[in-house]
């Protein structure tokens, strides 16, 4: 009988199962392209708050994305010297809509309310999202890889509701 063969088989099996797990973790973002090379860093250093663009974050379930009209509140006149900056006005000129690609997706059976977390629980954006101050490009990868256990752990530590229906729909 050949022991080496058994060991190789074993090794392959273990590696494969871990690889499979790792694969399952990655979300299928693929080749996402945002309509504008918008830099969070630049906006935040200009002392803008998250809610200035993501307006639903304090009062709605969805944080929402800025519409072209929201952008034009400031960008009607040229701001800064970025070469890409005029592009936002080009959208208006073309009569095109600004369609941001949403990256973080909830499972179909999960309810998540920004209002409940930001306004009622006074959580900071950074507690779940990554630090956007460092992000110089329009994000193309989701930044939250939460599992139910993460939600539960936080809910438990903050004595938030653990009722299934609090988050499931």
């Amino acid at each position: 009988m050949s022991h080496p063969r058994g060991r190789i088989v074993l090794l392959v099996a273990v590696v494969a199962s871990f690889a499979g797990m790792a694969g399952a973790r990655r979300s299928p973002a693929g080749d996402t392209r945002q309509p504008l090379p918008m830099s969070h860093k630049r906006h935040i250093t200009k002392d803008m708050k998250c809610r200035a663009c993501h307006q639903g974050v304090e009062g709605e379930a969805m944080a929402s994305f800025p519409t072209l009209a929201d952008c034009m509140d400031c960008h009607k006149t040229p701001q800064g010297k970025e070469p890409a900056e005029p592009e936002v006005r080009a959208f208006v000129a073309r009569g095109q809509d600004l369609t941001w690609v949403r990256l973080n997706r909830l499972a179909g059976h999960v309810y998540f309310s920004h209002a409940a977390h930001v306004t009622l629980a006074s959580m900071k954006c950074e507690e779940c999202h990554r630090d956007m101050k460092a992000v110089d490009q329009a994000p193309t990868e989701p930044d939250i890889h939460a599992q139910m256990s993460d939600c539960v752990a936080c809910h438990r530590s903050k004595h938030a509701s653990l009722d299934c229906l609090a988050c499931h729909k």
Partner: protein, 768 residues
């Protein structure tokens, strides 16, 4: 020999562990192939709004608000501020959503390829489609026969309908045929002849004590049902329902009656009221005409109602017609009289017989005897917002000649002396080409093949018309036989203003606005009319001079606004429109119902139990017509025995086709939410023949049997449902499913043209 060693064991264990690890790691095993939020453009925004509009699934005109999430309509609710429904909404209104997203909607104009009914279609552009229709219509005008255009229009109360009327007037065709005769024509006409105004009466149900409902439609499915329901939310009157079939709604007492016997019951109730001195003497003296004998200048001496009921309608005499015991009639009469505010109402189901108009007038007369007019808990005149029409259109010589031609359905002629239209006569007229051949037939908001009796006649007629245009959003049965399908927009995508005949008595102008962007390449009928008029040019284009339908609506509202003597009225039409968009319509607070009876718009100014209009009109009619029809030449309700088609020996049962709560006039069978409504038990899909257990025993039927229901002209399969909720000798079948209408023999009330839905006899036998 292979030995089982420790390494293998350990290896196996490790593998098992890894496998379990992998399982624990498995993420989101709960996948569904349809995401809750599908990817549609703009879905990221989380945008959500409520748009107000007016329901279009029946005539009630309820206010609705539609939840729109990221451009998709997801929910319809009642508008809490709307006077008609105050936030409530029935199953039909909510199912409108399903029609909007229906997979079988027609996506663009279609032209028939191949022979008629073959099902070969070619999508064409709107310009092409309108060009084709215009060419045909222009040819008609050039030949001097514009009257050969016939429009069957299923809408009522909308500005679109008024625009069609205007277009036809300018074009020169009198044939704007509505579906009134298939619905509650008797009630509307009775209102016209007794009280001087055409339309459904309004009832002050919220303050009424007793409601004697003749027929079930009012309580269950008619446009007035919503008002009845709303009234029940505060204080429900005691509901006595007279019908061959037990109503599906809440009621207090059900009095089974033989089909067609309502009028006899009403008159014998009047007999008891008169006999026992239960009538409101003062009211009858001051405000009722025709209670006692009168002299008509044209028709001579007329017998009053008092004598008529005393002589001819004793409860013992009518028992044979109604199947209702004398004691019951007396009890009912006393109950009506005692309660102070009791109203008797009739509806489309009670008057759908060969004696429909007379029945409706007899029931109406009951209210007069009880003094129920315009008092708390009584009957009110139908109210209208009173939106003036556009200015009078110009009709050129061709149009004037065409308009003078007789109507193809014989309305206003000896064939239908007192009615306003009889759509059921159209196929016969088309096939016989009398009084003239039809060259073009437009079907707007209607599917006569599926919705009206006489399917074979309709098919033959449609085959004979050179140009059939259907405006149906679906390829329904009639559209399948059309030459052109010009898909209409659905009410949730279109602009419309509706004159709501509110059962409450408030004048309401309902607004429909596009709730979502049009899903398909469709056009609203109003816009098609404008385009047709533009294409035809000349006086027609001058009569319909607007760029689009929305302009036409605005102009008309503008004219109305300037005539409005109301301090609260908006300053200009734009602000009116935006107010209507915000509110879903425009309405005034309820008209004062307590004011005593004022002058009615009748010749005598009183409630005319004996109608002078009828007397005068019949006096003027040619004698031959009178003779041949046996017209009694009296202004009193000429109530006669109901007429039934089919030999009673061969066809021992009466067919009662009824409109269930989920009945939608046009296209309801396309909506699965309604088809599956569990108001009947078990599988809701198959057609059911409801039959009394006594009859079932007589014919050897058991619950759930497959049966064949046969009438003199047709048959259909159904599932027998034994129910003590139908009278003996009656088979009740719900309208709205294919098959039932095909059983109905075409017969009508010869005075009003009301279709005799309940005038057919059938037999039922078990099949395997």
């Amino acid at each position: 020999m292979r030995r089982f060693g420790r390494r293998e064991l350990l290896g196996g264990a490790a593998l098992a562990g890894a496998a379990v690890l992998g399982c624990g790691q498995k993420k989101d095993p709960y996948r569904i192939d349809k995401p809750a939020v599908p990817r549609v453009p703009g879905w990221h925004s989380g945008e959500e709004r409520w748009v107000l509009s007016t329901c279009a699934l029946c005539d009630a005109g309820c206010g609705i608000k539609v939840r729109v999430v990221e451009g998709r309509a997801v929910k319809i609710e009642g508008n809490p501020e709307h006077p008609v429904n105050r936030g409530g909404l029935c199953s039909r209104g909510q199912a409108a959503l399903q029609s909007l997203y229906h997979p079988e909607r027609v996506g663009s104009p279609l032209r028939r390829m191949g022979s008629r009914g073959e099902g070969q279609w070619k999508p064409i552009s709107w310009d092409e489609a309108i060009g084709e229709v215009v060419a045909k219509l222009a040819k008609l005008r050039a030949s001097g026969h514009p009257e050969r255009l016939v429009l069957i229009d299923g809408e009522s109360g909308t500005f679109s309908r008024d625009l069609w009327a205007r277009f036809l007037l300018a074009f020169g065709s009198p044939n704007h045929i509505g579906l009134g005769s298939t619905r509650a024509a008797g009630v509307r006409l009775a209102n016209l002849y007794t009280q001087g105004r055409y339309g459904l009466p309004a009832y002050d149900l919220a303050r009424g004590r007793v409601l004697l409902a003749m027929g079930t439609d009012l309580l269950e499915s008619s446009g007035q049902a919503m008002y009845f329901w709303r009234a029940a939310s505060t204080r429900r009157p005691r509901v006595l329902c007279v019908s061959p079939r037990r109503p599906g709604c809440r009621f207090d007492e059900w009095i089974p009656i033989a089909p067609g016997g309502y009028g006899a019951l009403a008159l014998s109730l009047a007999h008891v009221l008169v006999r026992d001195s239960l009538i409101d003497r003062d009211f009858v003296r001051d405000h009722v005409f025709g209670f006692s004998a009168w002299q008509d200048p044209l028709a001579g001496e007329q017998r009053g109602l008092e004598e008529t009921v005393r002589v001819d309608y004793g409860p013992d005499k009518t028992k044979e017609v109604t199947d209702i015991p004398v004691a019951m009639v007396e009890r009912l009469a006393h109950m009506l009289a005692r309660q102070g505010s009791a109203v008797a109402v009739s509806d489309g189901s009670a008057t759908a017989a060969s004696n429909g108009l007379a029945t409706a007038m007899a029931i109406s007369a009951l209210n007069a005897l009880l003094g129920n007019l315009k008092r708390a808990g009584g009957v009110r005149l139908p109210v209208d917002v009173g939106v003036a029409d556009w200015d009078t259109p110009t009709a050129d010589v061709v149009a004037a000649a065409g308009n003078a031609a007789p109507r193809i359905d014989g309305a206003g002629t000896a064939a239908c002396p007192l009615g306003r239209g009889r759509v059921q006569a159209v196929p016969g007229a088309i096939t016989s080409a009398k009084p003239y051949p039809v060259e073009a037939l437009f079907l707007h908001s209607t599917d006569p093949l599926a919705g009206l009796p006489g399917r074979q006649a309709w098919i033959a007629a449609l085959h004979q018309v050179p140009l059939v245009v259907s405006f149906s959003p679906w390829l329904d049965d009639s559209a399948r036989l059309a030459d052109l399908v010009l898909p209409d927009r659905l009410p949730l995508e279109a602009w419309e203003v509706v004159r709501v005949a509110s059962g409450a008595g408030e004048p309401v102008l309902g607004l429909r606005q596009p709730v979502v962007a049009p899903l398909h390449d469709t056009r609203q009928a109003g816009d098609v009319i404008v385009a047709l008029a533009g294409g035809l040019g000349g006086s027609i284009a001058r009569s319909v001079p607007w760029k689009c339908y929305q302009d036409a609506v605005t102009v008309r509202l503008q004219g109305w606004l300037s005539s409005l003597e109301d301090d609260d009225a908006p300053a200009d039409v734009q602000s009116l429109l935006s107010e209507m968009k915000e509110a879903g319509g425009w309405w005034r607070e309820s008209a004062d119902a307590e004011a005593g009876p004022s002058e009615l718009p009748t010749p005598s100014g009183k409630f005319e139990i004996g109608s002078q209009v009828i007397a005068a009109r019949m006096a003027k009619a040619p004698d031959t017509a009178k003779e041949s029809q046996g017209w009694p030449c009296k202004g009193l309700p000429p109530w006669e025995l109901p007429r039934f088609s089919g030999d009673p020996l061969q066809f021992p049962l009466h067919l009662v086709p009824y409109r269930p709560a989920q009945f939608v006039e046009n296209g309801g069978r396309f909506l699965s939410w309604l088809s599956e409504l569990p108001l009947v038990s078990g599988d809701p899909w198959p057609l059911r023949a409801e039959i009394n257990p006594a009859d079932a025993a007589r014919f050897g039927l058991a619950d759930g049997d497959q049966v064949l229901v046969e009438s003199p002209i047709g048959s259909c399969r159904a599932v027998a449902q034994l129910s003590d909720g139908v009278g003996v000798g009656v088979v009740a079948m719900a309208l709205g499913k294919a098959g039932v209408v095909d059983l109905v023999v075409l017969d009508e009330d010869r005075w009003s043209g009301a279709l005799a839905w309940q005038g057919t006899r059938v037999r039922v036998r078990k099949v395997s």
